[in-house]
C-alpha cells in the first residue's frame, strides 16, 4: 500500500489531483452545496454533473490530442474541425424535410463524422507524407477551416429544431448526460486499445524516435496518418456535442481556443510535448482541473477582469509543482528527513537527443 502511495505521490499526476482537490475545497467553502447531487426528473443534477458535461467535448478533443502529442506532433485545427462538423450537421438538418426523424439525424451525424475523419487524413498527409511541421500544417486547416465553417453557415447562427439531435447535448443515459457517457466510452475504449494492443507502444516509439521506429519496421507514416485522422474524428464528435448543447451552429465561436485547453490538459496530465510516454488518465485529470477552474471562477465570483490572472497563477503553480526539479528537491527533502529509509528513484530529466 505504501509503495502504491509513494508511486502516486511521485507521479506527474499527483500535483494536478492536489490542485483539483484544492479547487473543489475552495468551491465548497464559497458555496456549501457545491457537491450536492440530486435527482431531478429522473436524471442526476448538480454542479459536479455540470463540470463533467461541460468538460466532455474538451475531454474528447484532449484524448485525440494526447495521441498526437505522443507522436511529437500537435493539432491546432481541432477547434475549426469542431466548427465545421457543427455547421455541416446543422446545414443538413435545416435543409432536410424530416429533421425529427432519427434516421435523418443518424445520417447527418455520420456525414459530419466522416468529414471530420477526412480532414484528419488531410492533416496526417501533410505531416507524415509531405513532412511539414505539425504546428504549421494544422495551422493551415485552423485558419482555412474556420472560414469553411463560416461559409457553410454564411456567418449566421443557425438554430436547430431537431429533437433527436438535441439528445446529444441534453439527453440522459442511466441518469448521466449523454455527452459524459460518450466521452467516458471513448476514453475507456481508447485506453483499452492502446494498452492492450501494441498500438500504444508503437505510438510512443514513433514519438521518441521516428526514424528508428521506421527502421524497426513500424509503419510510422501510416500510423501518424491514422492518429491525426482519429484526433479529427474526435474533434468532429466534440463539435456535434457542442452544437447540440447550444441547439445552434455558431461557426464563429464553436471550439474557439479549445485546442489550447486540450493541449494544456494533456500536458498537465503528464504527457510531454516532446513525444513519447503518454497518460490518458492524466489527460482526464487535466480536463477536470481546467473545467473546475472555470466553474470556480463563477462560483467564487472572481471578477471577469481578474479571471485570466487567476488562470495564469493556477497554470504556473501546476507546472512548477509538476516539474522534475521540484520533485527532485522534494525527494531529497524526504530523504533527509527519513534516513535510512530507501528513497524512490529520481525520474531522469528529459534531454532532447536529436537523431
Amino acid at each position: 500500500m505504501s509503495a502504491q502511495l509513494r508511486n502516486f505521490t511521485g507521479s506527474r499526476v499527483f500535483w494536478p489531483v492536489v490542485i483539483l482537490v484544492g479547487l473543489i475545497i475552495v468551491d465548497v467553502i464559497a458555496f456549501p452545496g457545491f457537491l450536492d447531487i440530486t435527482v431531478k426528473e429522473g436524471h442526476l443534477f448538480g454542479a459536479p454533473i455540470d463540470i463533467l458535461r461541460n468538460g466532455a467535448p474538451t475531454l474528447l478533443i484532449a484524448v485525440g490530442m494526447t495521441l498526437v502529442i505522443a507522436t511529437r506532433g500537435i493539432d491546432l485545427s481541432v477547434g475549426s474541425i469542431a466548427a465545421i462538423s457543427g455547421a455541416v450537421v446543422s446545414a443538413l438538418l435545416l435543409n432536410s424535410p424530416t429533421p425529427d426523424n432519427p434516421w435523418t439525424v443518424v445520417q447527418a451525424v455520420g456525414i459530419a463524422l466522416i468529414l471530420g475523419f477526412i480532414l484528419g487524413v488531410w492533416n496526417g498527409t501533410l505531416v507524415a507524407y509531405l513532412k511539414i511541421q505539425p504546428i504549421i500544417a494544422t495551422l493551415i486547416l485552423m485558419t482555412a477551416g474556420r472560414g469553411v465553417a463560416m461559409l457553410i453557415t454564411e456567418g449566421q447562427i443557425l438554430t436547430l429544431h431537431s429533437k433527436p439531435f438535441e439528445w446529444f447535448g441534453s439527453g440522459f443515459i442511466a441518469g448521466f448526460p449523454v455527452a459524459v457517457v460518450i466521452a467516458a466510452v471513448v476514453l475507456i475504449l481508447t485506453m483499452l486499445v492502446v494498452r492492450r494492443s501494441a498500438l500504444g507502444m508503437f505510438i510512443e516509439s514513433v514519438g521518441i524516435n521516428p526514424e528508428a521506429s521506421r527502421q524497426a519496421g513500424i509503419r510510422s507514416r501510416g500510423l501518424l496518418l491514422g492518429i491525426y485522422a482519429f484526433c479529427a474524428l474526435l474533434a468532429a464528435l466534440a463539435g456535434l456535442i457542442i452544437t447540440s448543447d447550444q441547439t445552434a451552429a455558431d461557426a464563429n465561436n464553436t471550439g474557439l481556443f479549445i485546442e489550447l485547453d486540450a493541449i494544456l490538459a494533456v500536458v498537465i496530465g503528464g504527457t510531454s510535448l516532446m513525444g513519447g510516454r503518454f497518460s490518458l488518465i492524466g489527460t482526464l485529470v487535466g480536463v477536470l482541473v481546467i473545467q473546475t477552474l472555470v466553474t470556480t471562477v463563477y462560483i467564487v465570483g472572481i471578477p471577469p477582469v481578474a479571471t485570466m490572472v487567476f488562470k495564469a497563477i493556477v497554470v504556473i503553480a501546476v507546472s512548477l509543482l509538476q516539474s522534475p526539479t521540484t520533485n527532485e528537491k522534494f525527494a531529497n527533502w524526504r530523504k533527509d528527513r527519513r534516513r535510512p529509509t530507501p528513497t524512490k528513484a529520481i525520474e531522469p530529466t528529459r534531454e532532447k537527443v536529436s537523431a
Binding site: 458555496f31 454564411e154 455558431d250 463563477y298 477582469v305
Partner: protein, 339 residues
C-alpha cells in the same frame, strides 16, 4: 526537373488567380458587373455611379455582425455603387492596414466600424491629408479632432443599457428586493462596458436592486448557458437575468429550463439586440423585454455616403433608430423582421 515543374505550376496558379473573375470570392452582389450597371444608371442616380467606397468591417464574430455586413453590401449594390470590402478579423491593426490600403487605392469615401474607440488619429489624419472623407458606423472613435470624420452613424450602447434599466425599474416598482444576475459581453469590448454602465446608471440609484453576480458569457449562447448554470446553483433565488445580448439570453433560457424552472416566469430575462431568435423567444414568453440594437445600417450609410460625395453637409452624429420590444410588440413585429 521537379523544381522547374513546381515553379511553372505556381506561375500558372498565380496567373489563374490574376485572371479569374471576382465571382469566386463573393457572397453578396458586389462584383464588377454591378458597378458597370451602376454607371448606366449614373444619370438617374446622380454621381453615385462612379463612386468607390472602401469599407473596413470589424469581422464576422456574430450573427449581428454578419447581418450588418449583408445589409451594407445589399444597400450599396442596390444603389449601384462599387464597394470594396475587407474583414479585419476583429483586429485593429488589420483595420488600419485596410484603411491605408484604401487611401493607396484612391477610393472616394472610406467607411468603417472601429473595433475599438481609441488609436485612429494617425491613419485618419492620413485620410484627411489625402482628401478622402471618412464615415464611421456602429461605433465611434474618441479623437478630440472631430474634423477627422464626416459623420458617425450608429447605436448608443449606454442608452441601450439605460432602456433595459428603465424597464426593470418599472417592472419591479412594487418589489422589496430584486436579485439580478448580469451576463456580460466580452471583457474589454465597448458594447459590454457601455451596456453595463447604462444599466447601473438607472438601477444603481435604488438599493433594492442587487446584482448578486456578474460574469462574462463572451456574447455567445454556450457562454451564457455555462455561466447561468453555475450561478443558478449558487444563487437559487435570483429574480432577473440581464444579458448584454440575445445569444447569451438564449443560453440562459436553456440553463433555466434544465434546472426545472420556467424562463420568463420564475426568472425574468432582459436582453439587447433583437435578433430573430431572440424575438421568437420573446414572442414565446421566455424573454420578457428586448432593447433593439439594429445592424441594418446599409441604406442610411448609402444616403450619407452619397451626400458627402456630392459635397453636401451631413449631421455629425446620427443615432440609428432603435426601439424596444415587449412580448406583444414582438409578436406583432416578428413577421417583418429582416434578420
Amino acid at each position: 526537373m521537379k523544381k522547374y515543374a513546381a515553379i511553372a505550376a505556381f506561375g500558372a496558379a498565380a496567373l489563374t488567380l490574376a485572371g479569374c473573375s471576382s465571382d469566386g470570392g463573393t457572397d453578396g452582389a458586389t462584383d464588377g458587373a454591378t458597378a458597370a450597371a451602376g454607371e448606366t444608371e449614373a444619370a438617374a442616380a446622380g454621381d453615385a455611379g462612379d463612386m468607390v467606397v472602401g469599407f473596413a468591417q470589424v469581422g464576422a464574430e456574430s450573427g449581428w455582425r454578419t447581418a450588418n455586413t449583408n445589409d451594407i453590401q445589399r444597400a450599396f449594390s442596390d444603389a449601384g455603387i462599387e464597394l470594396k470590402f475587407s474583414d479585419a478579423q476583429q483586429k485593429q491593426e488589420n483595420q488600419i492596414k485596410a484603411i491605408r490600403s484604401y487611401i493607396q487605392q484612391g477610393v472616394d469615401i472610406i467607411s468603417f466600424s472601429p473595433v475599438v474607440e481609441t488609436g485612429w488619429d494617425a491613419v485618419l489624419n492620413e485620410a484627411k491629408a489625402a482628401g478622402i472623407p471618412v464615415i464611421l458606423t456602429d461605433r465611434s472613435v474618441d479623437s478630440e479632432d472631430d474634423s477627422l470624420y464626416e459623420s458617425f452613424l450608429g447605436s448608443d450602447f449606454v442608452l441601450e443599457g439605460n432602456k433595459a434599466g428603465e424597464w426593470v425599474v418599472n417592472e419591479y416598482a412594487d418589489a422589496d428586493s430584486v436579485k439580478i444576475i448580469q451576463l456580460e459581453g466580452t471583457t474589454g469590448a465597448a458594447p459590454a462596458i457601455d451596456r453595463a454602465e447604462g444599466f447601473i446608471d438607472i438601477i444603481g440609484a435604488d438599493p433594492k436592486f442587487e446584482i448578486v453576480a456578474s460574469q462574462t458569457g463572451d456574447f455567445t449562447r454556450a457562454g451564457g448557458k455555462e455561466v447561468t448554470e453555475a450561478l443558478l446553483k449558487s444563487n437559487p433565488d435570483v429574480d432577473l437575468i440581464y444579458a448584454h445580448n440575445d445569444d447569451m439570453g438564449l443560453g440562459a433560457i436553456e440553463a433555466i429550463e434544465a434546472a426545472g424552472l420556467e424562463p420568463g416566469v420564475d426568472i425574468k430575462i432582459v436582453t439587447v439586440d433583437a435578433v430573430h431568435d431572440g424575438m421568437q423567444a420573446l414572442a414565446d414568453g421566455k424573454i420578457n423585454f428586448i432593447v433593439e440594437c439594429s445592424p441594418l445600417l446599409g441604406d442610411q450609410l448609402v444616403e450619407i455616403a452619397t451626400a458627402v460625395y456630392n459635397g453636401e453637409t451631413v449631421d455629425k452624429r446620427i443615432v440609428t433608430e432603435e426601439t424596444t420590444f415587449t412580448q406583444d410588440e414582438a409578436i406583432a413585429a416578428l413577421p417583418e423582421r429582416a434578420y
